[in-house]
């Protein structure tokens, strides 16, 4: 049974149990009592929030659901989970931290504020990240999946470890603008956290390492391996003819940087975008100090691309077609560090663009974005 089936079946079980409860009571002759005491108030409660799920029936995450695994056809991950074994308590702690605005200076911005599950943990509404006091960052919040395979994080690769990654946005003055010391103070003062740390790590001491390892357990479990593309490769689905053509075009013209199956080479490239004059983002060079890295950014994974717009490091394009037009057009911003493969653009016919788009649509992982264990509780 694959993961999406498990989730669907879980939801069906819940409905079945709920239905059985209603029927049992109605046919047990306790109709009047049942109607007044149970059904009417229940219906009333259901009416208020409209279509939302009854909060009294949370979809409980189970230990079975928080096991890290390497999907078929994936390389070995970069992060070694044996050094930070995922537990249900650790995962739940990481989830609570991920969605907790207490991690920001004024308690307004959580990780989940910019990384929304519905957008595969990117942010469709914001071109660049928004932070405390309405401040704007300079880069587009990326989607989150398959992070255990990444060797570096952020558009410039400045962060070298999944456990160290959360410290970047937490302390960034235009993102969450908080100190690690203050985060620890706030968590210690909270009614729930000390107990959750004890459950996850054996005692209630709250440290940077425990905070970041818990978040790594939560984020590291965001595995995207159930798109149509994956199911075709596993043999459970079939591409349309156009998707098939799109894949062929992709493999001949895009895959050298967007390498399967992760759809990134984890390297840095200058892809010919003219620098935004008010930002003049030097990209990778900010980290290495090497002029040869000027205006280079880490290749983003193309998985879930249909959900993760706007596109590019600064979110300048809102549609996939704008991206394809950029790569195929003659407007590459010429500079010393422009990737040689892009100096003349990548010639693409209208048909190829259409095929490519059809193929890219198969990279959407609905299992990931609907998985209740990743939702804010």
């Amino acid at each position: 049974m694959n993961r999406s089936d498990a989730i669907h079946r879980h939801a069906q079980d819940k409905l079945r149990r709920c239905g059985a409860f209603i029927l049992r009571n109605i046919f047990a002759g306790r109709r009047i009592v049942f109607l007044f005491v149970v059904l009417f108030p229940t219906l009333f409660v259901w009416l208020i929030p409209g279509c939302t799920v009854d909060p009294d029936i949370p979809i409980e995450t189970t230990a079975e659901q928080v096991k890290f695994y390497v999907p078929q056809g994936f390389p070995q991950p970069n992060y070694d989970f044996s050094m930070n074994p995922v537990t249900l308590d650790g995962f739940k702690l990481g989830r609570k931290l991920f969605y907790d605005p207490k991690l920001s200076r004024d308690n307004t911005v959580s990780c989940g504020f910019c990384h929304q599950q519905v957008s595969a943990f990117a942010n469709t509404n914001h071109q660049v990240s928004h932070g405390v006091d309405g401040l704007l960052g300079t880069r587009n919040a990326p989607g989150l999946w398959n992070l255990a395979w990444h060797t570096t994080f952020m558009w410039d690769g400045g962060i070298t470890h999944i456990e160290l990654q959360p410290l970047g946005p937490i302390t960034n003055p235009v993102e969450m603008d908080e100190t690690i010391a203050n985060v620890i103070t706030k968590l210690n003062a909270d009614a729930e956290y000390p107990g959750m740390f004890e459950a996850a790590f054996g005692n209630d001491t709250i440290t940077t390492q425990r905070i970041t390892q818990a978040i790594a357990q939560f984020q590291g479990l965001m595995i995207s391996d159930d798109s149509k593309y994956d199911r075709v490769l596993r043999g459970g689905a079939t591409f349309t003819q156009q998707e098939e053509f799109g894949l062929a075009t992709f493999r001949s013209k895009c895959a050298s940087c967007h390498t399967e199956p992760l759809f990134t080479d984890h390297l840095y490239h200058n892809n010919g975008l003219a620098p935004e004059p008010t930002i003049m983002d030097a990209g990778r060079m900010i980290i290495t100090g090497n002029p040869a890295d000027s205006m280079k950014f880490k290749t983003p994974s193309l998985r879930n691309i249909a959900l993760t717009g706007p596109y590019m490091h600064d979110g300048r394009f809102t549609t996939i077609s704008q991206c394809l037009d950029h790569y195929s057009g003659g407007n590459m911003y010429q500079s010393a560090t422009l990737d040689p493969a892009l100096s003349g653009g990548i010639p693409l016919t209208a048909q190829e663009k259409s095929d490519l788009t059809a193929f890219l649509m198969t990279l959407t992982d609905y299992t990931l974005i609907n998985d209740p264990k990743f939702a804010e509780q």
Binding site: I162, L164, N172, T208, Q209, Q213
Partner: protein, 271 residues
Amino acid sequence: MKSTFRFFAALVFAASLIAACKPDPVDPDPTPVTPAPVTPGPVIPTGSAICINFNNVVGSNPLILDNVYRYVNLNGDSFNVQTYRYYISNISFTDNLGNTWYELESYHLIDAADTNSLKVYVDSMPAGTYTSIRFMVGVDSTRNVSGAQTGALDPVNGMFWTWSSGYIMAKFEGHSPSSTSGFNLVVYHIAGYAGQYAGQRWFTPTFNSATAIVTSNTVPVIHINSDLNEWFQTPNVMDFSSYSVVNAPDAISSGIADNYLDMFTVTSIQN
């Protein structure tokens, strides 16, 4: 007042009854449980250890953290000191028989603002007559790429770059009227864990034929002066008007690390 006293007396009595109802087979000692201190003080060993006592100075003067321009560098810039912190790591001692003993988990943050941090106890050492010491200022590249660390290496200590992962090996912050930066700041953060401008440096300050004698019930103290002025001279004279902020691994920061290669002097060893 009297009734309040009676109330509390009754409360204490009741509490003692409750406690008495739960005999503790492990610890029969009736001493009341005291909550663990939030920050435990240093554990001071009584034997099989060496204490390294870092004495921070600026030239021939003691280092004082305040706003007074009491110091002058070789270039003639007067300055004060707000922050002086550095990692001492990978400590090893060699004895008179040529055996070298390496401290495990050897990471210590020396912070001029925290007197507890100035005494580093290297414990669980074999008995012997030690004739030399070796240590690194900074954090080895391995620990820079091994995820979130604890203790002295906890990023909460403010010696870690969150936007470009890696430790600040050593840090000086102060003011100088020569500085052209805002608030006359002078900020030297020596960082970078790999590449040609890496900030770590090894040190072997000489014992001058003195020895540190470790037995099961003695803890020799090695007094080491750490001279901040050495950051600003030989071979690279630092001019605070040209170099007020150094916070990227580059030729300048690497040059400052080269400068401070002679900042440590063993002044005496107490056996």
